[in-house]
């Protein structure tokens, strides 16, 4: 009996010592050895975007701005503009005008801080031969590189996130890291994405892109005007995509691709405003959307300028 008691005491002491040691060890890891470690825990315990109140969001943004400044040695502003009420963004693309010059692609890269090495393009321009079956997109060529565009007998169709009203990617996300904002933009919270890429599989348009490694972008190339849900500097292991230049459009400006297009093939506006060019477009032009049978209800309208 005595021996058992003694053994038990020894055992319980052993357990206590172990627990003490473990607690100390855990606390030690929480000590900020340098700034990066502190923000690691802050990042880990960051709440979901929707659950945070404005003050918490501000805190998170400040931390992110600090981290970005540290990394890129440049003051980065991360905005958090909310959706303007009464606005639903729509996009129009004039297939009779696009010449396949890819200036929209690179304007987007410059504006939205995409990684250049490895290369990520949010816009893909597909080339089709005139007169051949094209609607199924199987005959498309995206690596075309002729000396001059447009080429005879070919036409060009840029594809980017279609900002669907019924987005299959939002449905597929297991953690609700991507959702549709009230103004219709489908956004990704890069601090909540777990990198499973189910959304990439679910997107019928191939519009989502993944950061397989740390984005390679030089500090001088960083656009400092960013949005939390848009073009702020990303990191390894998260999904990104076109956000209709949320940092611009929520401040009333046109997306970068619209302004870059030299032939005026791109149109943008508020679908809910009866006087906007987007409303005129869908009411008066022959519009179609890609893969309509899948019922994703995209807000990216392709049209032909000629005829009504």
């Amino acid at each position: 009996m005595k021996r058992e008691k003694k053994n038990r005491r020894e055992l319980s002491l052993g357990r206590r010592t172990f627990l003490k040691g473990a607690a100390l060890g855990l606390a030690a890891t929480a000590l900020p050895f340098n700034k990066a470690d502190a923000s690691f825990w802050e990042a880990f315990f960051q709440k979901r975007f929707h659950e945070m109140n404005d003050a918490e969001k501000k805190q998170v943004i400040e931390r992110l701005e600090r981290e970005a400044e540290q990394k890129y040695k440049k003051a980065i502003k991360i905005g958090n503009e909310k959706a303007i009420p009464g606005v639903l963004f729509g996009y129009g693309l004039d297939l009779s005008r696009c010449i396949g010059c890819r200036r929209c692609v690179y304007a987007c890269v410059e504006e939205n801080n995409q990684s250049k090495d490895p290369q990520i393009h949010w816009i893909t321009v597909l080339r089709f031969r005139k007169g051949e079956k094209w609607v199924d997109l199987e005959g498309s060529e995206k690596y075309y590189n002729p000396p001059m565009v447009p080429e005879k007998d070919y036409f060009y169709m840029p594809v980017q996130c279609q900002q669907c009203e019924n987005p299959p990617c939002v449905r597929a996300c297991p953690t609700q890291a991507t959702w549709k904002e009230p103004d219709g933009i489908v956004v990704v919270d890069y601090n909540w994405c777990i990198g499973c890429r189910y959304c990439m599989a679910a997107c019928p348009y191939g519009a989502r892109h993944f950061n397989w490694s740390e984005p390679g972008r030089k500090p001088e190339e960083i656009n400092p005007n960013t949005h939390y849900l848009g073009n702020r500097p990303r990191f390894r292991g998260v999904v990104e995509k076109c956000t209709f230049c949320i940092q611009r459009t929520r401040n009333g400006r046109y997306p970068a691709c619209v302004e870059a297009c030299p032939v005026g093939a791109r149109k943008f506006g508020n679908l809910l405003d009866p006087a906007s060019e987007m409303r005129y477009l869908i009411e008066h032009k022959r519009v179609f959307r890609l893969k309509e049978e899948l019922n994703t209800n995209p807000k990216f309208y392709y049209f032909f300028a000629y005829g009504r």
Binding site: I84, V87, G92, I99, G100, C101, R102, R103, V105, Y106, P118, Q119, H121, T124, K142, Y143, Y144, N145, P146, P147, M148, V149, P150, E151, T249, G252, R253, Y254, V258, E259, C261, P262, V263, G264, R266, K267, F268, G269, N270, D273, A275, S276, E277, Y280, L281, K285, A305, Y306
Partner: protein, 179 residues
């Protein structure tokens, strides 16, 4: 009835003249801008015409110069402008021979170079209609505010409007090329 005196009559006359003048002003100003305001949205600004520096006003050279209305190949000046627009057309189909600082519509009306879209719209009516709404041409500015409208000629050189092919920017990297 009491006699108000001469001062009263003067005041009445001044007030009436002022009122009439104001009415005239509003009427005039309204009619002058009415065409533009009806057709184009409220907040807009139109880019200025892209003149070659120093070429405008044309009357610098053409004042006093007699107009030769015979369609011919120009030799002494403007010989670099070859018209590849409107088959069988020539300079005075659009330019006004009597006042080179204006353009002339088919019905004889004269318009400023800043309003050259009316001229293009004569034949390209459907494009003009789209342009007025904001559906044709390069779009910059604010989608819910001040949009910048470019003139037709800011993109399409009226003497040879077809766009020349340009060099495309590089294609995306093929996955097989990534090391």
């Amino acid at each position: 009835m009491q006699y108000k005196g001469r001062g009263f009559t003067v005041v009445c006359a001044v007030v009436a003249t002022l009122a009439g003048f104001l009415m005239l002003l509003t009427f005039l100003s309204h009619s002058a801008e009415s065409e533009n305001e009806e057709e184009l949205p409220k907040k807009f600004f139109i880019a200025p015409p892209p003149f070659t520096p120093g070429i405008f006003p044309c009357s610098q050279c053409h004042q006093g110069m007699p107009a030769n209305r015979k369609p011919r190949k120009l030799e002494q000046m403007h010989q670099d402008i070859v018209l590849k627009h409107m088959p069988n057309g020539w300079c005075f189909d659009c330019h006004n021979p009597d006042d080179r600082d204006k353009l002339r519509l088919a019905n004889g009306r004269l318009i400023k170079f800043e309003e050259s879209y009316y001229l293009c719209g004569q034949c390209h009516g459907t494009v003009f209609r789209d342009w007025k709404v904001g559906l044709h041409g390069k779009r910059t500015g604010m989608w819910n505010g001040e949009k910048k409208y470019l003139l037709c000629v800011n993109c399409h050189w009226p003497h040879e409007p077809t766009f020349k092919p340009i060099q495309p920017l590089p294609p995306p990297v093929r996955p097989s090329d990534i090391k």
